[in-house]
């Protein structure tokens, strides 16, 4: 396949179709609206269904239904819309149904604005809704990765019978870069649990109501066992220039691109900086973060929020070294120069 120039939102939408997704339910909100716009044209071409619901609450319950019937199904929204979906997402996780949810984050809290931000990190990695559950959260940082990880998201969702979130922001959603779609067919998984009509087999039941505490505890234990397995098998992380790094910059998503430029500029100045980029935000790649920081004397998280990833980085590093934070909020995007200034400040602190 030749490369195409595409924005991140459309690349994720096209990748979903290639992953075998035939159902999209959502409600428009900037900066993700290119996804429903694209799928409203594309899904009917492949015999799929595009449906604009009357609200996000309704959309996520349509996703619940389609997932229960065994379909590959997608919804997408942006920060406030994702908050509205949280009850339904908890039901989907409890019913152990696979689906993919894209959050193209915008400035918050509240109605906020439509500029890029990363303020929904905690919401995404701490389960989003009520009860003990986790989403698998993927954080791509380029248009190519947005396409690749959308396909991966559908595979992981089916493999673990768990909702998967792709957490990006308006910058990645709107940015155009070359993207190449692979020709290989996506992995498929049998779904004997799906409610597809009970002809010649006992009926399947999808339910999240368990009156007896012991029964609900059994479900919880089963979920926890699954989450443990996901933690063991699915951590992903990219470490760049970290082998000899004295200062580790930890960043994810669009901010990791900016941090990468800052790390390169620091290296040109002779500062031993490296970049640690978690790709799965849940499960958090603790081993890789520790490995990146083997020789480090300090860590800096660079995020477009108030420091939401700091806790996870500190837990991973067990507070062996200080973890600083630099962040912009409300839709403001840091420059490489701003992050470089922080790296220089830390360099002075550790090396005098």
């Amino acid at each position: 396949m030749p490369k195409e120039l595409m924005d991140g939102n459309r690349a994720m939408a096209e990748a979903a179709v290639r992953a075998g997704c035939r159902y999209f339910f959502g409600y428009p909100i900037t900066p993700q609206s290119e996804i429903p716009e694209y799928l409203s044209l594309r899904l009917p071409q492949v015999g799929g269904v595009y449906l604009q619901a009357e609200s996000e609450v309704s959309a996520i319950n349509m996703v619940y239904g389609a997932a229960g019937a065994g379909a590959r199904v997608l919804t997408a929204s942006s920060s406030p819309g994702i908050s509205l979906m949280s009850e339904g997402i908890s039901y989907i996780a409890a019913a152990e149904l696979p689906c993919v949810i894209i959050n193209v984050m915008r400035g918050g809290p509240g109605l906020g604005n439509i500029a890029p931000a990363q303020g929904d990190y905690n919401q995404a990695v701490r389960g989003i809704g009520h009860g003990d559950f986790n989403l698998i959260v993927l954080a791509p940082n380029s248009v190519q990765e947005m396409a690749d990880y959308t396909i991966l998201a559908f595979e992981l969702a089916d493999k673990y019978r768990n909702p998967v979130m792709i957490l990006v922001d308006g910058l990645l959603g709107q940015m155009m870069e070359p993207v190449e779609f692979k020709e290989e067919p996506p992995k498929q998984f049998p779904k004997p649990w799906a409610t597809t009509g009970a002809k010649d087999r006992p009926r399947n039941i999808i339910n999240t109501l368990f009156i007896e505490p012991e029964e609900l505890e059994r479900l919880n234990l089963k979920l926890q066992e699954k989450y443990e397995q996901i933690k063991q098998e699915e951590c992903r992380c990219e470490n760049y220039l970290t082998e000899d790094a004295e200062i580790i910059v930890a960043a994810f998503g669009s901010c990791s691109r900016i941090a990468k430029a800052a790390v390169e500029e620091a290296r040109e100045l002779g500062i031993k900086a490296g970049l640690c980029r978690p790709i799965t935000l849940w499960p958090f790649p603790e081993e890789s973060v520790r490995k990146a920081a083997q020789k480090a004397k300090a860590c800096l998280t660079a995020e477009m929020n108030a420091g939401q990833m700091v806790f996870d980085v500190r837990m991973a590093l067990k507070d062996r070294i200080p973890v600083h934070h630099y962040g912009r909020m409300g839709g403001a995007v840091p420059t490489p120069g701003e992050i470089l200034a922080q790296i220089k400040k830390i360099e002075v602190q550790i090396n005098g």
């Binding site: 490369k3 120039l5 900037t30 900066p31 439509i114 500029a115 308006g170 910058l171 709107q174 940015m175 155009m176 870069e177 070359p178 691109r257 900016i258 990468k260 430029a261 390169e264 995007v333 420059t335 490489p336 120069g337």
Partner: protein, 182 residues
């Protein structure tokens, strides 16, 4: 080769389209490329800008803070970005409506009367193509042949009738650069 470009002007001047075209041509020529719009509740007559990176090496940050090239289609855009240009950078500005020289002695500045030239070709909307023509002639950032291929692809079948006019506008911009700017 590594260029970071900001294209800025009024909404409706084809700012974002010009950026996409340049980005696509860069990709066709095997370069690493990225394009970011200043997306927002934009409207015709409001301000619009986009950031383009075209490079021989992988692009770390697609955010452009110190461009090597500025294409300013109106006064406010020149004012906003002229002092951020890297030394030995380029400023291309719309001299039809910007009646002063850019205030950056370290950059090479080129005024092109793109509005008048586009109107001379019969359609004010191709001012962006005139400017792109001048840009590629001076900087050689992509070849005119590739840019034409990208233009053909971008216009598609539906707007194929617009191809020759856009092609003429590119050519006019290049010729202006050869005769008046070099």
């Amino acid at each position: 080769m590594h260029h970071e470009i900001i294209i800025a002007g009024f909404g409706g001047q084809g700012i974002l389209f010009a950026g996409q075209l340049l980005t696509h041509a860069g990709m066709v020529e095997g370069k690493h490329v990225s394009w970011i719009p200043s997306y927002g509740p934009e409207m015709r007559g409001g301000t619009a800008n986009c950031s383009v990176v075209i490079s021989d090496r992988g692009i770390s940050s697609p955010i452009v803070t110190e461009p090597t090239i500025l294409m300013a289609f109106n006064g406010p855009s020149l004012e906003k970005f002229e002092n951020r240009i890297k030394p030995e950078g380029f400023i291309f500005y719309n001299s039809s409506i910007i009646k002063r020289d850019p205030q950056n002695p370290k950059a090479s500045s080129y005024g092109v009367p793109v509005n008048e030239m586009a109107e001379g070709l019969g359609n004010s909307k191709v001012a962006n193509m005139v400017m792109l023509g001048a840009l590629i002639e001076i900087t050689k950032i992509v070849s005119p042949e590739t840019l034409l291929l990208s233009l053909e692809k971008a216009l598609g079948r539906r707007k194929k009738n617009m191809l020759s006019l856009n092609e003429e506008a590119l050519k006019a911009g290049r010729e202006y650069a050869v005769q008046r700017l070099k």
